[in-house]
Subunit: 302 residues, 2 copies
């Protein structure tokens, strides 16, 4: 890890790389850093987040933005949209923050009525492998799944043998808590991964999205002192002020974002820049990367 002198070098380097588009070309043979890859990206390398699938979670400390992915768990995402539309989550607490695991919110005391039409849904923990799936495969394997990569901006695992695909429990992924019954996760309890990726949860719960902005508002919360990170009585849980779909928020109050597409040569170059970091700091290049270590850049929409 960089010490402070090294940071100073790196920060100058970042500033330089932000200007890289002004520089005619990289020296022959030099591999670009991630900063250089992003600076050289074209507008078409980015996709705007869809307001109909973008969720704003307002905490007293600021706005968390979640990109929902209805492709893998359409029924769960539909339930969440119904709950959000009924303002079900407004005022509910972040009731559990367990270190190196998850932050979770919900209504354990059943204070809010579940809107009609929201109920148990099929598990949606994995999906049949479609014949033509957008999939940028990582070359270095995975401990948990036969294949891993990216599909439409999300970390994905799949198995040709099982003919299945599923979202991977990487840092920042958002899932739906359930009881022992696999159909018991309605969407009324949601969690976000705030630690080392708990990939053993893959195929056991429905993942519905990813935090694309404001992750630090959850990961920096005090951990609950009780079993499993629940807050004790004297530890006041943070209330959720509101949850809204971006589409339902007036235009001037929106935070329009765009995410780097994961099906482009630019994203392939980004992966390569992280497999073999060209930065001088790295004396031994990993030459490999694990799916949850690949950043999926998101920025204000241009």
């Amino acid at each position: 890890m960089c010490n402070t002198d090294c940071m100073a070098h790196n920060i100058s380097f970042l500033l330089l790389s932000a200007l890289a588009f002004l520089i005619p070309a990289l020296p022959a043979g030099a591999k670009p850093s991630m900063g250089e890859v992003l600076s050289a990206s074209k507008p078409s390398d980015w996709r705007p987040l869809d307001p109909a699938n973008t969720l704003y979670v307002a905490l007293p400390s600021g706005r968390i933005i979640i990109e929902l992915n209805p492709g893998f768990a359409p029924l769960h995402v539909a339930n969440i949209k119904s709950l959000v539309g009924a303002r079900y989550f407004d005022g509910l607490p972040v009731l559990r923050v367990q270190d190196n695991y998850v932050a979770q919110w919900g209504d354990p005391e059943n204070r809010h009525p579940i809107p009609s039409g929201v109920g148990k849904v099929a598990p949606e923990f994995d999906s049949p492998l479609p014949p033509h799936m957008a999939f940028t495969r990582l070359p270095d394997g995975d401990v948990y799944a036969p294949e891993v990569g990216f599909s439409d901006g999300f970390p994905v695992a799949r198995s040709a043998k099982l003919h299945l695909t599923w979202l991977a429990h990487c840092y920042g992924m958002v899932g739906v808590g359930r009881d022992l019954d696999v159909e018991s996760g309605s969407g009324a309890e949601m969690y976000v991964v705030i630690g080392h990726s708990p990939r053993h949860l893959d195929r056991n719960v429905a993942l519905v999205g990813r935090v694309v902005k404001g992750m630090e508002l959850l990961s920096g919360l005090p951990r609950g002192s009780l079993e499993m990170g629940f807050y004790a009585k004297e530890e006041t849980p943070l209330p959720i002020k509101s949850m809204r779909l971006e589409a339902d928020v007036p235009l001037p109050e929106r935070t329009p974002l765009e995410a780097l597409r994961t099906d482009t040569p630019t994203f392939a170059a980004l992966i390569e820049s992280r497999r073999n970091r060209p930065e001088k700091f790295f004396k031994v290049k990993a030459e490999r990367i694990e799916v949850c270590n690949v950043p999926i850049p998101v920025r204000p929409r241009k």
Copy 2:
């Protein structure tokens, strides 16, 4: 992820499993959970932490305890002990908390003099593979290294081809920041991994230990708003009240801990209980585990 009803089941289950030593035997064929493995452990499955290699970091919010590992980075650990002995760290700030990465402390403004005898040391980023190494190998492979497992309570990677072994950058591991020069890490800047394991740092920096208690006091800190998680002027960094070796702390003020040995059948059973979780919640067993997802239990010394 468990919702709140499920938690209630699990917590009862944990309470039950804490009593498992009272229960004559598990049903034939039933695999024990981690709680059951720990409940059935013998005193000899545990090793006391060595006060000469146990570091107390006092923050205003409480005590963080680090187990130092001089086996992999003896010169760095010796430097840290000299710095701690000279009270070098007392009053220095946690100057950087970068989300999903590291918390780091040090003295970028050179306010504290470096004690004599503390200076640049050889890199110590990896070590020659010893002929008889205590090593509990994991069976499921690794994205970054040919072999991974545990040695004397630490997550370790190794390569027979390179004849090298090194500590792995898992959550909670403690390292020494350096500048671009590989010999520039004296120990005067230290960092702790607070996010998904940045294994690309393996073999590029000296890891010196692991946080065994109080991790949440670092991981729950507000993230710095500047580049790389540095704190802005108005964001007051937390001061380290003191850093002391346990051996230098009066007995009544110590927090004596013991860690589960990683070279026993009990630890092998723990690994198995996490590869194939017997808990009813898990409908699909991972049948695999990644090195940074294996817990290394630590408890008050009995």
